[in-house]
């Protein structure tokens, strides 16, 4: 179980604000943290991983205190058993796929690493360097690398946002399977509605550092509303620009289908 309370001053583009959030994740729960860019969601994840230090707070995982500002406990990232998956993969360019996966293993077990790669359909690429992989393959390797060290918690910082939609769908399923097999809780930062609906057991929405909503994904996301910003058309399509959760989204509709 993860219990975290984090207070940290953040510097936004329109002034400073406090990230002040408290959360609990149990069992094999998949918690998605939703929010706009700069709302503090990634910082929250980085504080749990020990990559950033909150001004105040308390972080406990499976009864082990990782951070306690009152007792001045602050374990470095190396001693917090997390599996962190970065948005842009962060694979080591100087190592092969197999070396990347084995890097974090406490007991170097080549057979297990190969087995993990086989499960993800990547066995044939084990001797390739990351620059020879596609985006989807890179993210699979990054996920396997994080899981190979048998972490107590999986932290995912928008891991699928750089991938195309079809691949994203495929990897969402794999991600969920791997997390369930590993029997660990997962915290994922996202700003993608569909992804959240597919993956999350529970959602929290952060705005300017504060948790403004928490609950089942269907309920939280039903509240999100799109507003029409502009409408234009060409000989073939109608092009709608919508504002959804603070972001502009372009939607093209074939005239024939109308």
């Amino acid at each position: 179980m993860i219990r975290a309370r984090v207070k940290k001053l953040l510097h936004g583009f329109d002034g400073d604000f406090w990230l002040d959030a408290e959360l609990e994740v149990r069992g094999t729960e998949f918690l998605v943290i939703l929010g706009q860019s700069g709302s503090g969601k990634t910082t929250l994840l980085r504080c749990i991983a020990g990559l950033e230090t909150p001004e105040e707070g308390y972080i406990e995982v499976d009864g082990e205190v990782w951070f306690d500002s009152k007792r001045r406990i602050n374990l470095p990232p190396q001693r917090r058993n997390v599996g962190f998956v970065f948005q842009d993969y962060a694979l080591f360019p100087n190592m092969t796929v197999l070396e990347n996966v084995m890097y974090g293993m406490r007991k170097k077990d080549k057979d297990r690493a190969i087995e993990l790669l086989r499960m993800a359909g990547l066995e044939g690429l084990k001797d390739k360097k990351p620059d020879k992989l596609s985006g989807g393959q890179k993210q699979r390797v990054a996920l396997l690398r994080a899981l190979a060290k048998e972490p107590k918690v999986l932290l995912l910082d928008e891991p699928l946002s750089a991938l195309d939609p079809d691949l994203r769908l495929e990897l969402q399923k794999e991600l969920r399977n791997f997390q369930k097999n590993a029997s660990i809780p997962a915290l994922m930062v996202s700003h993608d509605k569909e992804e959240t609906l597919r993956l999350a057991d529970r959602v929290i929405r952060i705005h300017k550092g504060k948790i403004v909503e928490e609950g089942e994904p269907q309920r939280i996301l039903a509240d999100a509303q799109a507003t029409l910003v502009s409408k234009r058309e060409n000989h073939r399509e109608v092009i709608l620009t919508l504002k959804l959760e603070g972001k502009l989204v372009e939607m093209r509709v074939d005239k024939e289908s109308l």
């Binding site: 020990g50 990232p77 190396q78 970065f86 962060a90 080591f92 690398r145 994080a146």
Partner: protein, 223 residues
């Protein structure tokens, strides 16, 4: 013609360059790591100090080093007490002087190299349980090979060609401090242009090869 050329200055120059480069690598890696990642203002002061040898005339640097390394200087007096001979006018003295003189040649490429390594692969290594030292040797340095090799080649080449600082600190002592650049000066003074030509040609070729290697390294490993 080669039979008349004294090989001692050549050997001494190579020995000086190798020692200087090895010591610079040992000092340069931790110093550049600190400079690349520190947010302290002290980092700016240290960075400026390490760059000083680039802009100071070698005679100015040589003069201060002479004072520091001489029998009555801060470093020289300690050395004298420990080893019973003085640093100046000895090989060890010119090694220390060369290390300081060529410091920017190692520190600058390494600092840029450290800054060019993506932060997320360093953090990924930490979250995978690896210490800062292990991350340095297994992730950071292997991903900045071009910078490390550039630092090595530049330091080596710069030391081969140095003159002023070595002359100020080491003088012109056969077998101790008379490196090739000083031997050229010596030969020209004695109007022995033949010897000067051979030594100068050697330095020219060595410097050219070093720079060609440098460009080859950059072409091979840069993006």
């Amino acid at each position: 013609m080669m039979a008349e050329i004294n090989p001692v200055p050549i050997w001494l120059t190579v020995k000086l360059s190798i020692w200087t480069t090895i010591i610079l690598l040992i000092i340069g890696v931790p110093l550049s790591y600190y400079l690349a990642y520190t947010k302290s203002k002290l980092g700016l002061v240290i960075e400026a100090l390490t760059t000083l040898p680039l802009v100071l005339p070698p005679t100015v640097l040589g003069f201060y080093l002479l004072l520091l390394l001489s029998k009555n200087g801060i470093i020289g007096s300690v050395w004298y007490r420990l080893f019973d001979y003085q640093l100046v006018f000895h090989f060890e003295g010119i090694v220390i002087a060369s290390v300081i003189y060529s410091l920017p040649m190692m520190v600058h490429p390494l600092t840029s190299g450290f800054r060019s390594v993506p932060r997320n692969i360093i953090e990924a290594s930490w979250t995978l349980g690896k210490s800062k030292i292990e991350t340095l040797f297994r992730v950071i340095l292997p991903n900045m090979k071009a910078s490390v090799l550039t630092g090595i080649v530049l330091s080596f080449a710069h030391t081969i060609g140095e003159f002023g600082v070595v002359l100020m600190v080491g003088g012109n002592i056969e077998g101790q401090t008379r490196v090739v650049s000083i031997a050229i000066y010596d030969a020209v003074e004695a109007i022995d242009y033949k010897t000067a030509h051979v030594y100068a040609g050697l330095l020219f070729v060595a410097s050219f090869i070093s720079l060609a290697m440098l460009y080859a390294i950059n072409r091979r490993w840069s993006l």
